[in-house]
Symmetry: C2
Subunit: 223 residues, 2 copies
């Protein structure tokens, strides 16, 4: 049995769902509101973070351990060539660290997690100034991505690879919250509509968070 502990608006969880979908690995999904620090969950991953994948009788904590294992086992989500593999990992690092720290973590915390946390644990109303700054930074990141996609069909080569799944997982969370200015980034929009149409993306488009319905055309393939 393969089990994934995830949170719908966690970009790292989405990345693993996309990855498993692309590999056609069936999985039981368990939603974990990780900020609640549930005891049994902390036992599985003491860092208290999602995703966790139980697969091949091993518990893999974190998207890094999971994605590298899947790559090791199936050898088809990262190109074999050293240069394009390094280029994938450069962009994965960019989205999972820089973009996450400067953009997605802030926006998801302010718009989503704060609603569910108690005041003592950092809950409360969103800080609109922080959101405004993160959206400004996001636009700079997206300008660079647009520049790449003017030159490449997918982010690295002419084939969908792990860098694309990674970027799409962050962008799709922000799209759910209505924060992507699609009209400014036509190449990203084309790229995203290609990803959205893949079977691996289907379950992500049906995600719903209580009290926070998806904005705009989130669930539409033709947006």
């Amino acid at each position: 049995m393969t089990t994934l502990y995830h949170y719908p608006l966690c970009p790292f969880s989405r990345k693993i769902r996309l990855l498993l979908g692309e590999q056609k690995i069936g999985v039981d999904l368990i939603v974990e509101r990780y900020w609640e620090n549930r005891k049994e969950f902390i036992k599985l991953n003491p860092s208290g973070e999602v995703p966790i994948l139980i697969f091949d009788e091993v518990t893999f904590c974190g998207q890094y351990a999971i994605s590298e294992y899947i790559e090791f086992k199936y050898k088809n989500i990262l190109p074999e060539d050293t240069k394009t593999k390094a280029e994938n990992r450069r962009l994965i690092d960019w989205f999972d660290n820089k973009f996450y720290r400067e953009v997605s973590k802030i926006i998801i915390n302010e718009r989503v997690e704060k609603r569910f946390r108690s005041i003592e644990k950092g809950g409360g109303l969103p800080n609109t100034e922080l959101i405004r700054m993160a959206i400004g930074t996001m636009n700079n990141h997206l300008k660079y991505m647009e520049y790449l996609l003017e030159r490449r069909f997918w982010l690295v080569t002419n084939k969908i690879e792990l860098a694309d799944l990674t970027a799409a997982s962050h962008i799709s969370c922000l799209d759910y919250l209505g924060d992507i200015p699609w009209e400014k980034f036509p190449e990203i929009k084309l790229w995203y509509s290609r990803i959205k149409s893949r079977p691996s993306f289907r379950s992500i488009l049906t995600d719903k968070i209580v009290g926070i319905p998806p904005r705009g055309n989130y669930a539409l393939l033709d947006f």
Copy 2:
């Protein structure tokens, strides 16, 4: 020719220096004050971050791309066994992401980078309240590490592995700045003194930042 662009008090740069040292790969070191966004440097890595390794005629941007390539090529910094490899990656993720975001990034920014940045780019006096909070969080992380080291000789197995090099790179930056309360964590102290004695650590112990001399026993093997 192998070249590493690094910054002495960047934990990711230190991790790669340790890794290259453990593999006995000779390297030309170039110090990059990455916050200055030097044009030629941005051309190498548009994200503007260190480390960058030029190796085997490929430019590897970021510690993730570098360390996974070195592992792929030499196959001796991560154990082969799936379970202990996943455990390494769980802890690497922990230090490079959670610990970095909550502790090392904040302290290094406040104590070091702010001195060198202009006021418009976020420079100025350190925010002592932020440092105090980060040190509080650091103590919680270290408690968990102490718990692990009470049970294991190195962080994962009885052999030094990538998780150890990763943790040591973050901890050594904080030790340079005098922020590790060694007396509270005897197991971490023993573990760190073992790492400090390794030849791969030597060049890190000679690091000096202008205007910020190393604190306490930073450079002493017997501390």
